[in-house]
Symmetry: C2
Subunit: 415 residues, 2 copies
């Protein structure tokens, strides 16, 4: 008998009818002999409704009170799901984050899990209960409720699976797995049977929004076998068939598996580029530019500094498109008087396209194949950045779909 954690998203919990489908699926797994822990999200729309009420009162609400309010969405979900599972004839008990307890730091609205006490849950499991635990939330040292931020229920589920040393964590969502790229851009995209955590991290952070990135980090760190699969399949479907659907995120490279060089093509059009041209190339210049930007709480993604000519260099970086104006204000007010750059330009009409694959480690020529493919399509590369398992380029926004499709084909990812 193994312990399995199921996580269900807001769409799966979107109505009492759907909640009863979730209960049927959980009951099927329980009857197959598994100890079951379920982590549901709030009913779809509920978190937005709650935060909307808060916003009607305050433009800048106290984050502790926001968490007090927002955490109720998941609390309702666990109670309803417990009732639905009981109706399936099983024993079921719901827990909020503080009842487990799931201990976090005090960073309200974006707290981090510090520890999970498994004693009460394990006792209930041993007594034959299905245990339902709120996603998205915990409790801090002041006995205040904290939330983990948007998508935090994925992280809760993986963290609970890690704490309970679960056999597997199944994340049921409205897509049936991780694809080689977004099927809306490339209809020939195919579902991956397996992907490694490292690849998943690169895919997730680059915009393939299947799983919250922190949950993937967690799964990798604690070696939790995690599977993404669809909650839209028949809840009574054969268990073996169900286990084979979706995408397994593994914490080790599968030597037996036919290893493609590239696992997928990720993209992100939420960024904007800032270039500071004609900067004196002296020690400390990068800090002088990025220090004030970081101070203003603006996240920077790619950073490029070119080789210098005549003691001068160009410095480029990307920020979230929504923060472009804020970043430019900081640079003009604080950075420019200090560094006296020749020119400051910006471009919001860019996108980032990345090829991701653990196989890249042992294959040369991925970069050159990528650049050749883009060149053949007449797409100019504005910035390049590489890591061990991904290569990202910044190109003009308008070429995004073309670039994704061309690369998808060039690396043989089509189904």
């Amino acid at each position: 008998m193994s312990l399995i954690v199921h996580k269900y998203g807001g769409t799966s919990m979107g109505s009492t009818e759907r909640i009863q489908n979730v209960a049927r699926r959980v009951a099927k797994w329980h009857r197959a002999g598994h100890q079951m822990v379920v982590v549901p999200s709030a009913m779809s729309g509920e978190t937005n409704r709650l935060l909307g009420l808060a916003k009607e009162i305050s433009d800048n609400p106290d984050p502790r009170e926001l968490d007090q309010i927002a955490a109720t969405g998941e609390q309702v979900s666990v109670g309803l799901l417990a009732l639905a599972i009981q109706k399936q004839g099983l024993k079921a008990k719901s827990y909020t984050g503080w009842q487990v307890p799931v201990r976090t730091n005090s960073a309200y609205t974006k707290a981090r899990i510090e520890s999970i006490d498994d004693a009460r849950v394990r006792k209930d499991l041993d007594d034959g209960y299905v245990v339902i635990i709120t996603g998205f939330q915990g409790i801090d040292e002041h006995q205040s409720i904290t939330t983990l931020g948007r998508g935090g229920s994925d992280t809760s589920a993986v963290a609970v699976a890690a704490a309970l040393k679960a056999e597997e964590c199944l994340i049921y969502t409205d897509v049936d797995g991780v694809y080689t790229t977004d099927p809306r851009v490339e209809p020939n995209a195919k579902r991956l049977q397996k992907i490694t955590f490292e690849e998943m991290l690169e895919m997730a952070s680059l915009g393939s929004k299947v799983l919250q990135i922190r949950s993937v980090e967690f799964a990798g760190k604690y070696k939790v076998k995690t599977r993404v699969l669809s909650s839209l399949t028949d809840p009574d479907m054969n268990l073996t068939e169900e286990a084979q659907s979706g995408t397994l995120i593994t914490y080790e490279e599968d030597k037996t598996m036919e290893q493609a060089v590239i696992s997928g093509i990720a993209f992100n059009r939420d960024e904007a580029k800032i270039t500071i041209a004609g900067v004196p190339d002296k020690p400390g210049v990068a800090y002088k530019i990025l220090g004030p930007v970081a101070q203003a709480n603006i996240d920077v993604d790619m950073i490029i500094q070119n080789a210098s000519h005549d003691g001068m260099t160009d410095f480029s970086f990307t920020v979230h498109r929504n923060e472009l104006n804020k970043a430019l204000d900081v640079i003009k007010a604080t950075v420019q008087p200090e560094i006296q750059a020749r020119e400051i330009t910006s471009d919001p009409e860019i996108c980032k396209v990345s090829v991701v694959g653990i196989g890249m480690r042992s294959h040369v020529g991925v970069a050159s194949q990528m650049f050749e493919t883009l060149s053949k399509e007449g797409i100019n590369i504005q910035m390049i950045s590489t890591s061990e398992i991904k290569i990202s380029v910044v190109i003009a926004d308008k070429y995004m779909e073309l670039a994704v499709r061309a690369l998808h084909k060039a690396f043989g990812l089509e189904s």
Copy 2:
């Protein structure tokens, strides 16, 4: 500087706009130099919405899970009210029942408060915070959330006031106090400036639904000065004026106050009468009849046993109208084979009308004046029951309004 507890009902918390009015009122009291604790109900309709979701899933839901679900309504309220009070420029902090903690027994959906720990709240008050505490709920020894049942927020407020030894507990509601009778039945009904707990208990249990009866018991037991007043008045109204509006429920008879013999006329049309005629008048017969009824969890209100004739007596009692059929089933199945009564009859078309007043103690003739008044109107009295401060009669349902108006006039209660 005195400590004041405010309680706001669901209507007062019905929208973010109304919540901001509540915040203005609380801020006014705080600025006048009071330490403030606020106990709000869930936003109107929210508890019904939540219980409705549960009912969609299960006809007979697990009460622990129901409480897990229902308690969220008040949790949202305290968070929103904290934000609104902060917007008034004050420090504010919200607490759920378990955060205080408010300890209760484990009678889910109708738990009773056992103790309230005042340490955290008192510290926050001393630090200048307005403290907002969820009504309706607490935590039991298993760390499960409990609720106190419908109207439980009144009880929470009075219990918190008792635990903190508050100067006064102000219950803001959608009526402006306790009236001599229901103004919908007698337009000349007038608001009472003061009423004693004993009278209030009789009024509340008899159908003048201003305050939850348990809150009045609590207020009497712990001598909490409690005032019922309207939340519909201008939140910025003068403090002295506001304190004079509403009805003060006192725990001692005010000797200086002009004491009317009768404080009010209460009525209740939710009952039905069962008469068991021709029962052998032997010891134990009352128990033989009411034992099985109590066993079936049916609440009995009035019980009358007449003097016997020829060793036989008639036995009448009233139950809630919704439980009449259930009670008759029990009597026919269990009681009748045992006692062999001559006849069992029932009548759902009755009502109970009561005159209530602490002044009755020192005045004779209240009963005879009541019976004379009803007689003059040609109203037949079916049952009579008396206590030290009230006289209740059961009459035909159709005469209720007539009886209430006639008694209201006869006892000089008109405004």
